[in-house]
Amino acid sequence: MARTSQQDRKSVYGAAPVQDPVSSHTLAVIVDNEPGVLARVIGLFSGRGYNIESLTVAETDHTARKSRITIVCSGTVHVIEQIHHQLSRLVPVHKVSNLTLESTHLERELALLKVVGKKDKRIEALRVADIFRARVVDSTLESFVFEITGTTEKVNAFIDLMRPLGLTEISRTGVAAISRGKEGVYEAA
């Protein structure tokens, strides 16, 4: 095969770029509440190989038929920037805010935990719940359902403690997030 003499010179041009560190970002996405929106958003993540850690969605403005999707995703700064742009260009997406970059913000998650047990374990479960300010929302002689609200880390910690105490079932909402202060995720008109 004929080859150019320049081929030998490739080493002059540096090594492969160093991979940037991966971090977690929380995005607030305001969308039209119409069929297929969520599928389009999720399809974007799976189609382009982005990671979703948590996704929550609910209608937040019934009259304007707008929903807010909160996505916690991880990636390099570069990937997160791509995710932001890729989401923004979807037709039903009105606004994307990277709460992690643009503000200090609050994150909360709600979880319901079913803990089944007797005697000491039952008492211990109640004690831990008290420390975590979890509420008992249902009780039988052998079980509790706890409701806990807090950051993902707090909910995780609570779940870990409940495991040896008879935890049988968990239902979590995923992260809801909002920025601190008076500025908000306003909507581009």
Partner: protein, 635 residues
């Protein structure tokens, strides 16, 4: 009534109630009056209705008319019969019956790319829609504005695995810019208007509307595009002027600049191309274009270095590699263009102008990203360059051009000439000579070229010369074999008097050969110029260079006799294998008045060079043995 509705009410009652309800959606169906019913049954071609209330199918037609559509490519089936019925009863829109739904989409793409308008297609549910998927994906990757209507089973049957039911919006969600399932006829008109707006605004792309059959039958209100709020999708087109100023300053200080332009210039049409030409000539900088960008700048001009990338020219790729300032306008740093990313133009500062913010910094990090339509950006840059009276650094430019001329002197497109066999490159040179003759004639025809996918496509990009945008149709992003012929049909529909040539390969052409019937039916004199090497040449080339010459399944066994095949369809077929007869055959081809296949038997062993193997850098290009001879004198 001062609205633009062209289908006028034919009975008085209709006219009156329409007048009364001017501007307001009106649900009353005038058609259902006995009088109207009679009118309809006696004269099917005369619609009688309140112009604000139509059936879903009529709404589709009216919306097409109001969006300036004159042609739609399609194929009927149970789930779109109401629309076909409406098509039958009107004259504004011409329906072109293709022979496979994939071809409908490619024809719509050819129509769109050659006119700057949105191309339209109509397919039935289930298999009709799934056949359209390749065409939609092709349009998505190449940013072509097309709108596809698909039939769907009635709303009350959706989800029941009904006959010919497919989850069309689900299947096409990832291969459309936006898609819709219209379940209520009330939403239909505004959905169609928004679909047109989305397809052509910002970065263009394919849009699909899925229409259940009951919605096509249902009466509903019509509203015009002007009455429709399209504000929810309005991508930015105007550049940030301070960024433009920075960009122009960077350019003015450049010692080794190069323009790298792409499909984003062609998307903006003639005006962008004119501005680009003005700006490039004003600066004196060299320019290279992507496969999709060819025609955005006159390729015969000495400042144009030809195409860059995997099969681009030596001079274009070296200029990119060595440049200090790169001005990317409407190109997306595709991997066929950049080669190995960490060795891509390693010492350059890059300016990237793109209408899609997600294109900027996607594959290549740039120093200056500007979100804008290429027309607006170019206009602003020219203004700043003029206002500040910038001049390129004359000494630096002289040295830069001297270097470029050395690269040019390699003559990387050289090939071994032969008096015995037709070299594919030679065939294209002779085709270009014939086209030049045609265009230089008084009243010469406008010339459009499409291609299939493979070596012939790359040779066409290297050897044919495009001086105007929108005259070159090729499948770049998806690389769809079978694209070129239906695309040529779409072009010919839009430009009946033009000369339209599909440069084809023997394997690709068979992927949509059934469109011969379409071409014959509509008397479309498309020329299919097959560079027949009896191989899937591009596959063979990779097997030869990278897989130890193990030619697994790349020989095109049992090819049909293309001459007889053309004749079987009712077209004209010709064959040529002697280089001495080539010009005559081409001349004959140019004169035919119906679809014509020219089977050009070319040297089967020829490979396409230069070539940058995947994952290699621009300066690791492989040249043909012939060009290699000049290499020593080089760097």
């Amino acid at each position: 009534m001062a609205t633009k509705t062209t289908l006028k009410p034919k009975n008085k009652a209709g006219a009156k109630s329409a007048a009364k309800s001017a501007g307001k959606p009106q649900m009353k169906l005038v058609k259902s009056t006995p009088e109207a019913k009679k009118a309809k049954s006696t004269s099917a071609s005369q619609w009688v209705y309140d112009k604000k209330t139509l059936t879903g199918a009529e709404i589709v037609i009216q919306a097409l008319v109001d969006n300036g559509v004159d042609t739609i490519f399609g194929y009927p089936g149970g789930a779109v019969l109401p629309i076909y019925d409406a098509i039958f009863q009107q004259k504004k829109i011409k329906h072109v019956l293709v022979r496979h739904e994939q071809a409908a989409l490619h024809a719509a793409e050819g129509y769109a790319r050659s006119t700057g308008k949105v191309g339209c297609a109509l397919v039935t549910s289930g298999p009709g829609a799934t056949n359209a998927v390749t065409g939609l994906t092709d349009a998505l990757l190449d940013s072509i504005p097309v709108l596809c209507f698909s039939g769907q089973v009635p709303t009350f049957l959706i989800g029941t695995d009904a006959f010919q039911e497919a989850d069309t919006t689900g299947i096409t969600r990832q291969c459309t810019k936006q898609n819709y399932l219209v379940k209520d006829v009330k939403d239909l008109a505004k959905t169609v208007h928004e679909a047109f707006h989305v397809a052509k605004s910002g970065r263009p792309g394919p849009v699909l509307i899925d229409l259940p059959k009951d919605v096509q039958f249902a009466p509903g209100p019509y509203q015009s595009p002007e009455e429709t709020d399209l504000s929810r999708y309005c991508p930015r087109t105007m550049p940030d002027i301070s960024l433009i100023e920075d960009a122009v300053e960077m350019m003015a200080n450049a010692k080794k600049p190069v323009f790298y332009t792409g499909g984003g210039v062609v998307n903006s049409g003639t005006e962008a191309a004119e501005l680009l030409t003005e700006f490039v000539q004003m600066t004196g900088f060299p320019i290279t274009s992507t496969l999709m960008g060819l025609g955005g700048y006159p390729m015969r001009d000495k400042q144009h270095l030809g195409m860059l990338g995997m099969h681009g020219t030596f001079e274009a790729n070296w200029a990119m590699h060595d440049c200090d300032v790169m001005i990317n306008i409407g190109a997306r740093f595709d991997d066929r263009v950049t080669g190995r990313l960490d060795a891509f133009a390693p010492n350059s500062k890059k300016i990237h102008i793109d209408i899609d913010p997600s294109s900027i910094n996607k594959n290549v990090r740039v120093e200056l990203g500007i979100v804008a339509d290429s027309v607006e950006a170019l206009r602003a840059m020219i203004a700043v360059w003029k206002k500040r009276k910038y001049k390129a650094d004359a000494a630096a430019m002289k040295a830069w051009w001297a270097q470029i001329e050395k690269w040019r002197a390699v003559k990387c497109l050289n090939y071994q000439k032969s008096a015995k066999t037709i070299k594919p490159q030679y065939a294209l040179e002779r085709l270009q000579a014939a086209l030049d003759k045609e265009m230089s004639k008084k009243n010469g025809r406008d010339v459009f070229i499409s291609t299939e996918v493979g070596q012939h496509q790359m040779w066409a990009a290297q050897f044919l010369k495009f001086d105007k945008p929108n005259h070159w149709m090729t499948s770049g992003g998806l690389g769809t074999m079978g694209y070129g012929f239906p695309a040529a049909i779409g072009v010919q529909m839009a430009h009946p008097d033009a000369l339209v040539v599909d440069v084809a390969g023997d394997a690709s052409i068979l992927m949509n050969i059934q469109e011969m019937s379409t071409a014959v039916q509509y008397r479309l004199p498309v020329k299919i110029f097959i560079l027949n090497n009896q191989w899937m040449g591009m596959v063979k080339q990779w097997q030869e260079l990278l897989h130890g010459e193990r030619y697994s399944n790349s020989y095109t066994e049992s090819l049909p006799d293309f001459v007889k095949l053309a004749e079987a369809y009712g077209g004209i077929g010709m064959r040529v294998s002697d280089p001495a007869e080539l010009d005559d055959v081409i001349a004959k081809m140019m004169k035919t008045d119906c679809v014509t296949i020219v089977d050009v038997c070319v040297d089967p062993s020829e490979n396409c060079f230069p070539m940058i193997p995947s994952g290699k850098a621009h300066n690791e290009m492989i040249l043909s043995a012939d060009a290699e001879k000049f290499d020593k004198t080089l760097v």
